[in-house]
């Protein structure tokens, strides 16, 4: 037990040290197949402006709660070049449900498919939903794990901070 807590303290110290440097971390580029059939890379999208990555799945309740707010942010700030790119994590076993869900909700943001979690692994998205806000220059500006109602206020504050000239 003592060893275990020593381990926790060790990891906390290490991760806090790097967390303090998180604002200079560059997002890795990736290419993703969109629900529409097109393919897009993260840095192509970043040419337009900041991007909010949102990792989700059709079986994840909190993810669905968050997505209605992502749609609002996408519509509200797309004139400033801001984009929401949601990365779906459904495996082939439930992949056929994704398009129906997105169309029924009339979401207009881009939906990428990542059925074997390659992209989520690159971004260390171990919990769903995980949101990562990336500035136009590719710098990771903010991350958030999970979603409870009210989190949308913090998400919007961080988006506003990035699109402010």
């Amino acid at each position: 037990m003592k060893k275990y807590f020593a381990g926790i303290v060790y990891i906390l110290a290490i991760s806090s040290l790097f967390a303090s440097n998180a604002n200079v971390e560059k997002a890795p580029d990736f290419k993703v197949k969109l629900l529409s059939g097109d393919r897009i890379s993260l840095y192509e999208l970043l040419e337009e402006g900041p991007v909010l990555l949102d990792f989700w799945a059709t079986w994840c309740g909190p993810c669905k709660k968050a997505m209605t707010h992502q749609e609002h942010f996408h519509k509200a700030y797309q004139d400033s070049g801001f984009n929401v790119l949601t990365i779906n994590q459904d495996s082939p076993k439930s992949l056929s449900k994704v398009k129906g869900y997105i169309r029924s909700k009339k979401y207009s943001f881009k939906v990428g498919l990542d059925p074997n979690q390659q992209i989520s692994k690159i971004f260390n998205a171990v919990l769903l939903p995980t949101m990562i806000l990336i500035d136009k220059d590719g710098t990771i500006a903010w991350r958030h794990q999970g979603f409870i109602p009210g989190d949308e206020v913090a998400i919007e504050d961080h988006i506003k901070a990035l699109i402010r000239p």
Partner: protein, 599 residues
Amino acid sequence: MTFAQRTFNLTSFSFILFTSNLFGQIQFSGSSQLKYGESKTGFTYSESLINTHIRLDKFTVWTQFEFSQPPELGFYQDGLRKIRLDYTKGPISLKFGDIYEIWGRGLILNQVDDQSIDFDNGIRGLYFSLDKNNIQWNLLTGYSTLWKSAPTYPGYNNYSHNYETNHSVLGTNIDWIRESFELGFSYLQSREKHALPSWNFPDTVHVAHRILGGRIAYTAPNFDIFMEYADKQSTGYNELDFSRKGSGFYANITSYFQDWTLSADYIRYRFAHLSPDAFSRWDFVNNYGLVLDFQQPAISNLLHSTPLLGRISHQFDFNNNLGYQLDLTGPGLFGSTLFLHYAASSRTHIWESTVDYSWFKKNNDSWLPFESAEGLPYRERYIEVDGYAFNDKLHYIIAASKTTDITDIFQNLYLEENHTSQYKYQEAITFPTSFSLSLSNGMNIDIKWEYQELLRGTWSYSDSLGIVKYDSLKSDFDSFNYETGVYTKRPKQVNHVFSIGLGKAPTWSVALLFDRVSYDDTFDPYAINTETSFEKFLEQFISLENTWAAIELVYNINSNQRLSLMYGSQKGGLLCSNGVCRIIEPFSDGFKLELTSLF
């Protein structure tokens, strides 16, 4: 692992962290998950998973370290668990190490590392990809050791796998993509060392598997279509004279009419035809040449994430399954979304038993699922309404599900004018609901309630000369008191899972969780009878008979660190993830801690 080795692991991990950050051009990121649990059942675990990504120009190194004594599920591990080097230059990419890939909808290859049920079908080897001029070509080669839990193999337990198979794998995949049209072909071969129980001679057999398949996809403005077919052959070698042939087919058509979406999936997997009794059908130890664990194809039923529906998940048999599902999604009342679902599946054949309990196929392959119990049918009707109300302050999900599942058949005997059958029957009506209310200042209240009426038991049927002699269900929940000699009939179990939570975004949330059954089916003396101090406190307010109660706190230390603390008891039983299920031990009067960090 010795102290010196552990020190070496920690030192090398720290070295990677610090040196990678020292060099400006090297990008470093990672995550860690620390889990600790201690309960009165004796179930104690401590598990640390550390993922790191180091990127330098065209190279990326992914490592995963695990330090566990023991983990929540699986084997003890102290050190490097996964490693992979990725190299990408223009259209070429190369992966060397632990490979996880998906081709098509997984009829040939779908690799996952799912720690929640300790299922890992990764391959350690080389993966080459060329992506040029609408063509994607992949080549895969490597070795894999797959672990599973097998009741028919020595050492079976609920914590860690007891059965191992070794595979030498070679495969290739090519996709041609042109605008909205896709065409792909895949080939995978595996040479398997298949272990048999030690009382067999030989105790290992060698089986070669070859799977060849193709798929086609087309996206139009008003509909999408996807079809995939795989043909599998397994043959013995090194003195094993054995051959098995099978195939699988999956199709999906999704069509759109204004705001409505109708999606239809059809599956017909006939990779192996094993007799339908519970002992043979799931016995992947004494039967070989079955569907490979690398094959995790699409399924024809819903994946549920609520606790009670999760516990009655249909156990999908990829060797032999035939079915379809229909999903209709569209606008409901008051701006909500309506989702209607119907799923039907069964085995591809009906089987008859003989007086000595051996089995034979009664009919030819079917194209549509059987309704009669002889075909082990499964049916689900599900309706869900979700939406927002009160200026998006209240989010709600209200759902209802009815499932019937013949999970196993023990006898299906026809003798002249007599018919006798006996099978395992499960029927459930479940109502999952969820309400989240946003208050001012980021505060919110979250209420989830799931109600279920579950009928489960052994159904016996017999007729003679057209006259039914008996047709009844003996419930699994019936009880017999040996002291008093009283037999109590309990036709159904009534279950509730209720949670109420309060949170302040984006910092913390606290939730009380109750999991109540009308009759205990865990047979675990600790699970129900142990009364924790927490439960004693709660019993001042409510009765906790046959109830597992817990309190959970989630605290976001900052945007990169999340701490979760649970105290109380949790019901064990079936846990299903991604269509694969596993029995999980109950957790009684203990605490669980989980710290997730991104760095």
